[in-house]
């Protein structure tokens, strides 16, 4: 074990200033670059230089001034340049510990440690950066002290059995994850957008190169007078090639982000992380987990895989999973593995074993109505403009019905003594699961359409919910059932857990 840091004050790694500087520079890098590139006259350049030097000096003094001490029951952190602050963080308050190390960290053999409490957007302490051994020792010490100062329900003995591995992703699974996730598309779209935005003086000059290629290609094609089938096959081939390239990129990204992904349980804590160059590791107490999300897209189902994510209370929206927030529990796992994880983490029943209840029997009509109206209007307008071929759009009508029936066939909600669960989808599906003790508020909603067809929806609110993800919003329930569910949930969440 590394030297016990107990009692005496400790400093950060001697090269910490470099990492502080890099973070500072990242925040001001863009304006600085813009100033240097487009600033007219030396004055701006001089100012930028002065700014950079000041930042460097600040980083140096800041990181040399940073001290921490492990006392009885609390961690004391002293930091600050002009206004020195001394913060006392009781061990019990540290809910989440996040670690992050990128390539540079690894070169110096250091890591960044972030200690978060339950509330607030800012972490309680950011230790930028510690020697890996010191970080390990500190984390071990924090855990041990935490276990000692907070008697956990039945986990006191567990707390020492370090690292029960719940899931480790082998390379094959990561390749599958890459194939399914299609992050490459996002990257390409982002790169395209950046490409377009670049060079403010000549907005489209960058685009001339690819445009030129395309023109050349089409010129060739036009000059040769290929037959329609040749052109179609060629086009399809090019598309296939692009598709394959995107998937390959996605696989590479998956390898970079989740290489050696491991999910571990250490007593009452859960830790997960991985990464090839930047290694991000997040951890949280299991009772801080909020809603769990299981995704099962069409591609997931093709590979009989699912993905499992969680939302963790505290320090929510300011950070994403790359900074070491516990977010992924399993980027990819087989359905039995997901059930196993749910059982081992939350002692939850398997997804199939939950008492699923269907929606209103006529829900599919409501679900199919607006798409049908859309296809009818689209068919009418197109037929008006181009004639009979426009009627082909009427094929959208049976499609709407089929997809609506499929959607209603799968969409269900379930509630047992401890959990509320919701699943929805047709070809692509998702599940959401939350412990009843974690509900913050309950809403019963009725739109004019709901009232006409005797339906209502029930929605719940939880901590740290991602606004971009659907939570639990159960639509198209028979009014009486919705009211009963609302009443039960209201009573359940009024009782603190």
């Amino acid at each position: 074990m590394a030297p016990d840091p107990r009692g005496d004050e400790r400093r950060l790694h001697p090269f910490s200033w470099l990492f502080v500087l890099i973070t500072q520079l990242r925040d001001v890098a863009l304006p600085l670059i813009v100033l240097l590139l487009f600033g007219r006259g030396e004055w701006w350049e001089f100012m930028a230089l002065v700014g950079a030097v000041l930042l460097a000096a600040y980083s140096l003094v800041y990181s040399f001034g940073f001290r921490y001490r492990i006392g009885d029951g609390e961690l004391t952190v002293r930091e600050g340049l002009f206004d020195r602050t001394e913060r006392h963080i009781p061990f019990a308050r540290i809910q989440n510990i996040a670690r992050r190390s990128n390539l540079l960290h690894r070169v110096f053999g250091v890591t960044e440690l972030r200690l978060e409490s339950g509330g607030g957007l800012k972490p309680e302490a950011v230790m930028k950066v510690l020697r890996v051994a010191d970080a390990d020792a500190l984390v071990a010490l924090l855990r041990a002290r935490q276990a000692a100062s907070v008697p956990m329900e039945g986990s006191g003995a567990d707390a020492r059995t370090s690292g029960e591995v719940l899931l480790r992703l082998p390379l094959v699974e990561l390749v599958r994850f890459g194939l399914i996730s299609n992050r490459g598309m996002v990257v390409v779209a982002g790169a395209f957008a950046a490409f377009w935005q670049f060079n403010p003086t000549q907005p489209r000059s960058m685009m001339r190169v690819p445009t030129h290629w395309i023109e050349q290609l089409f010129g060739e094609v036009a000059a040769h007078h290929y037959s329609l089938t040749t052109m179609l096959t060629g086009g399809a081939f090019v598309l296939l090639l692009l598709f394959a390239a995107l998937r390959l990129l996605s696989v590479l990204l998956a390898l970079f982000v989740h290489h050696d992904f491991t999910l571990e349980r250490d007593g009452d804590r859960l830790g997960a992380g991985g990464g090839l160059l930047t290694h991000a590791h997040g951890s949280a107490r299991i009772d801080r987990l909020q809603m769990l999300h299981v995704d099962e897209s069409l591609l997931h189902r093709l590979f009989t895989r699912m993905s499992l994510k969680t939302e963790v209370a505290g320090g929510v929206r300011a950070v994403n999973d790359q900074s070491g927030k516990l977010h992924w529990l399993a980027p990819i796992a087989s359905p039995p593995q997901v059930d196993d994880l749910l059982a081992r983490i939350l002692a939850a029943p398997s997804l199939a074993a939950l008492p699923w209840r269907p929606l209103h029997p006529r829900a599919w009509r409501r679900r199919a109505r607006w798409p049908s109206v859309f296809w009818l209007v689209a068919a009418a307008v197109t037929t008006f403009w181009v004639g009979a071929p426009g009627l082909l759009l009427l094929l959208g009508l049976p499609w709407s019905v089929v997809s609506a029936r499929g959607w209603v066939g799968f969409t269900r909600y379930a509630m047992d003594a401890r959990f509320l669960a919701y699943r929805e989808g047709w070809l692509s599906r998702r599940y959401a699961l939350i412990e009843l003790d974690k509900l913050q508020a309950v809403t019963l909603k009725q739109s004019p359409f709901d009232r006409r067809s005797g339906m209502a929806s029930v929605q719940i609110d939880s901590m740290a919910a991602d606004p971009l993800r659907g939570g639990i919003d159960i639509p198209y329930l028979p009014v009486a059932e919705a009211r009963a569910l609302f009443a039960v949930l209201a009573r359940r969440c009024a009782r603190p857990g």
Partner: protein, 167 residues
């Protein structure tokens, strides 16, 4: 039939919180303005294009119609609005077309706050903000309460001593 069994179940003897009558005026004005803008956007260009009526008349028409619609909507809104202080939380029923009943458990209220605008002060009323640790419903406002009741509620909702709880 409109009174739901389930909600009556949740509710206890605490009952309905009063709504100051002046709140209707505030809702009339706010909804009136909301209606006025689209009416102005439609009526004024029509008046200019077709010369059917002079522009000032179109303006006046938009304002009057907007206020009329706003008044009608505000009356409906006030008739359907209800806020109840229950033994274990607060139940708010609101909305005209899209209706919602929101239950905020008392155990989940993180902090409360009484707000008074200039008009509120004039009419001795206040709105009470409830903050939870949730995401979408992190901030819920009970408008148009008599100031004294708002202040009482602010304190009682946070007081978790057993005797107040009834637990």
């Amino acid at each position: 039939m409109s009174e739901p069994e389930a909600v009556r179940d949740v509710r206890s003897d605490h009952g309905l919180l009063p709504l100051q009558p002046h709140m209707r005026l505030i809702w009339t004005l706010s909804h009136g303005f909301a209606w006025m803008l689209p009416l102005l956007a439609v009526l004024v260009p029509l008046a200019v294009k077709f010369d059917a009526l002079p522009v000032p008349v179109a303006l006046l028409l938009a304002i009057v119609l907007g206020l009329l619609f706003g008044r009608h909507y505000a009356q409906r809104y006030a008739a359907l609005y209800a806020a109840m202080h229950l033994a274990d939380g607060v139940l708010i029923r609101r909305g005209v077309w899209w209706r919602a009943e929101i239950f905020v458990p008392r155990a989940r209220i993180q902090h409360t706050e009484v707000n008074q605008g200039p008009l509120d002060r004039r009419w001795d009323m206040a709105s009470l903000s409830l903050h939870t640790a949730g995401t979408r419903l992190e901030h819920i406002v009970l408008p148009g309460l008599p100031r004294v009741i708002a202040e009482q509620l602010r304190d009682t909702l946070l007081d978790r001593r057993p005797h107040v709880d009834g637990a």
